[in-house]
Symmetry: C2
Subunit: 342 residues, 2 copies
Amino acid sequence: MHTEAASRQAGLDSADTTKTSSGIVDAYAPVADQLLRVRARLLELADGQSPFLAELLVHVLDTTGKGIRPAITLLSSWFHPNDGTRAETMAVAVELLHLASLVHDDTVDNALIRRGKATVGSIWGRNAAVLVGDFIFATSAVFVCDTGNVRVIRRFSETIRELSSGELDEMAGAYNYRGTREDYFKRIYGKTASLFRTSSESGAVLSGVSDDQVSALNDYGYNLGMAFQIADDILDFQGSAEEAGKPVGNDLSQGVLTLPAIIAIERNPEDNPVIALCRRPGDPEVLAAAVELCQDSSVMDEASAVADRYTWLALESLAQLERNTARDSLEELVTVLVGRRS
Amino acid sequence: MHTEAASRQAGLDSADTTKTSSGIVDAYAPVADQLLRVRARLLELADGQSPFLAELLVHVLDTTGKGIRPAITLLSSWFHPNDGTRAETMAVAVELLHLASLVHDDTVDNALIRRGKATVGSIWGRNAAVLVGDFIFATSAVFVCDTGNVRVIRRFSETIRELSSGELDEMAGAYNYRGTREDYFKRIYGKTASLFRTSSESGAVLSGVSDDQVSALNDYGYNLGMAFQIADDILDFQGSAEEAGKPVGNDLSQGVLTLPAIIAIERNPEDNPVIALCRRPGDPEVLAAAVELCQDSSVMDEASAVADRYTWLALESLAQLERNTARDSLEELVTVLVGRRS
């Protein structure tokens, strides 16, 4: 489920390690003031609402993380002179969309904790969580309308559609050992890279840059999102349960076959504990053997090489843009979020 | 919960009585061909999707009712020469929005049956229902973007927001006997009248009529939606359980205080079985006494008078428009849906 990825993101977002956190803050430097305004506008959303809705909104908005997506939108608007107003409005929208999707993911997954706080569903019930998620999705769309740009508005709606279809594909593909890399890439595009792409593309479009530059920033967001999700899926097999704050191999234990599992199956499609797990979900010994196979250093290396390829493509996309502070920051963000530079 | 209203709507939509059904079909006559095209476009949505998502979509789209909202959009576009293309696209969007809200309502209410068919949640689980609801919401928004009209797009997003806040208000207001008529009107605006209003207003805007006429059609949709919901809430206290297909007083049994209950409380704020029910939810004897009080003919008459007032306002709004076939149909629709003409 998305929670695996999302809770890792949450970890990154909310400063679980000082190193990552300070790296992100450094990368945000050019847009630090703008991000503060975005944050203030998010917190204002509860004003004037009914007491119950206001309480739910304050709870959700207070879990806002480090704001990777709004930062990408703002930085992507720095390649053409503009007053930044529309990019700021868009940055509010992309963060709201991300928050709405987290609320619904937690509902789908029956998650109890998000970013160290009890989830809406665990406090007010899943019913309230479904509805407040809808409200935040709709509010994000209202913000996008304020940009007045139909191309951006349409792309935004498509992103919500891709997010939900990515999650549904993951649900449908659970324990399906016949799933290919292409199925996996399609899924992680929907659940993660689509919104990264929309974050960068919309900032670019709203700033008024040329189509070539929009395309470069679109590619940047797409490739960064793909690399980010693959790195996240690799991380799920690394470290100890204590370090990660959840069991190692959590994805696999829920039948979600990510890139390492798919590589492990590709290497031995006949006799394979990952396939055995798909046939006997829940067997702890089979799960342990499957996780161990995915942790094999050559499997991990191959998965990392795929992530590196996307990382490289993200950096290549940036190379097509004029060099400025924002480009340096977007480059820095790749390193901080994905952890390596090819 | 919305289900009470929605299942009544479903009843109306899906021909529970021959009289109502044929009345609706008659009222649709001018836009019958357009509605067929709208229906065909809805059914095409599953094409090209992943097998699981396609299966969910076919199930949901196959439950499409009589299409009150798309008919209103189409008829409202008949007051200015235009080729009807944008109104048809918008009609697809309003029906999708309605369907998405029903999917989430059923999820929130754990409903098993909708329009005589098992709900998505009862077949594939609530998790799939949340995500396919999101997908349909987003798809509806993509259709609205195809109209290219930012005013309409924005109003549409606001409607999704009002739908969810209306539902949340209803949830928060359960068993609250201090709720006023104004609270009630705000709630039913959000959960029902907002989309009726958007259905008529968007048809008008997209046809290119003058602001005065947009305003008249906006008022029409708003007032018809309010009258429709109040009539529905009155119906909940009428007839036998067999006729209604669910227990009489179903709203009240779930703590939802609709207009008849509010009127009953207004008349005797001291010693009142409705208030007693709010203090002791679930007591069957107290519930029976509360339902009986709401069924009192003078309470019912006062509630009907409120519905009549909205009905009258809806018809008054139409009187500001030139008389044509569409206006006759919109007038007929008021009679068919709300059942009386003041």
